[in-house]
Symmetry: C2
Subunit: 147 residues, 2 copies
DNA sequence: TATTGTTATACTCTATAACTATA
DNA sequence: TATAGTTATAGAGTATAACAATA
C-alpha cells in the first residue's frame, strides 16, 4: 500500500513491515492457491517427508511449530487422502513414523508447480537485483523461523 | 537449504523458497505471539483502520483478501472487544463504516510492540547488508501481495 | 518418571449459499 | 438489477486438558 519509504525504515519499524509483508503474502498465496490444493501446513509436512524421509510425529510437530495433537490431526487428514502412512517405529514402541506415499510425492510435485505459478509470474517481473534481494531475504527469514 | 547461489537461483526454485519462508515465518511469528494477542487478520485490519481511518467492510475484505462474510465476522469480534465501531455511511445506506476506537488504537500500539519483540531481536543479529535485503524484500513482497 | 502419541473438546478464521436492504 | 452487508452453516487448523502406552 506504498507506506514504505525508500529511505529505509528503522529497525523497529522493519519488524512491523516484515510481519505485515509475511502475513499479507501468506494470505495472498492462499487466495491464489488452486481449490483442490492442500493447506500450508499439510503441504509443508508433505514436502518435508518427501525431501527428508520418514519422521516421527513429534519431530514434525516441533518442526512446524504446532502442538502434537494438531500435527496428529494434520497427519490424519493426509493419511485419509492416501498421501502418507503411519507405521510403528521398530526401535521405539512409543513412536510413530510418518512417511510420504508415492501418491503423496506425486501430489507434492504437481501441487507445487500449480502453487508456484502465481508467484513465479510475479517474480519474473522483478529486476535481477530485486530477485537477489528476495532470494537472500527468503534464506534469512527461513533461518530466523527455524532458529 | 542454501541452494541459492548469489548468481541468482532459477525463478522456479525461488518461488518455492519464498513460499516456504513465508509460511514458516508466519507460523513462527504466531507461535511467538503473546497469548492474549489478536490474530493476524484482526491485527492487520485494526492496523489499517488506525493508520488510514474508517473503511467500509467491503474495502476491508478486498484489502485483506478474505470474503465479506469472513470480514464481517472479524469485525464482529473486534467490535465485541470494543476495539472498533460500526456506523452507517451517511452517504450510502448500504455501507457500514468500520472505525478503530481509542482502545483499539492503544491495543494496536502496545500489541505491536509485544509482537515485534521477537523479530526485532532476530533482526538486530543481522548484518546491515542482511537487514537491507530483508527490508527491500519486505517492500517487494508487500507490493506483490497487494497487486 | 519421562516421553510419545491420541482422544475429546473448543476456539479462530475461512468459505459458500441464501437472505435483506439500499442504490 | 447490482451492490453492500448479514446470517446460517460447514470445514480446516489450532490449542489445552486428560488419557494410554512405552521407555
Amino acid at each position: 500500500m506504498s507506506d514504505s519509504p525508500d529511505t529505509g525504515p528503522s529497525a523497529d519499524s522493519l519488524a512491523s513491515e516484515v510481519q505485515a509483508a509475511v502475513a499479507r503474502m501468506y494470505r495472498r498465496a492462499r487466495s491464489e492457491m488452486p481449490d483442490n490444493e492442500l493447506g500450508e501446513t499439510p503441504l509443508s509436512v508433505l514436502s518435508h517427508l518427501v525431501k527428508h524421509g520418514p519422521q516421527s510425529l513429534r519431530s514434525l510437530s516441533e518442526r512446524e511449530r504446532v502442538t502434537p495433537p494438531a500435527m496428529s490431526q494434520v497427519v490424519n487428514a493426509l493419511q485419509a487422502s492416501g498421501l502418507v502412512t503411519r507405521s510403528p517405529d521398530p526401535g521405539d514402541g512409543r513412536r510413530v513414523l510418518v512417511a510420504a506415499t508415492g501418491a503423496g510425492a506425486s501430489l507434492w510435485i504437481d501441487g507445487r508447480r500449480a502453487r508456484d505459478a502465481w508467484m513465479n509470474a510475479r517474480l519474473a517481473e522483478l529486476s535481477a537485483d530485486q530477485r537477489r534481494a528476495v532470494s537472500e531475504a527468503a534464506r534469512i527469514l527461513r533461518a530466523m523461523a527455524d532458529s
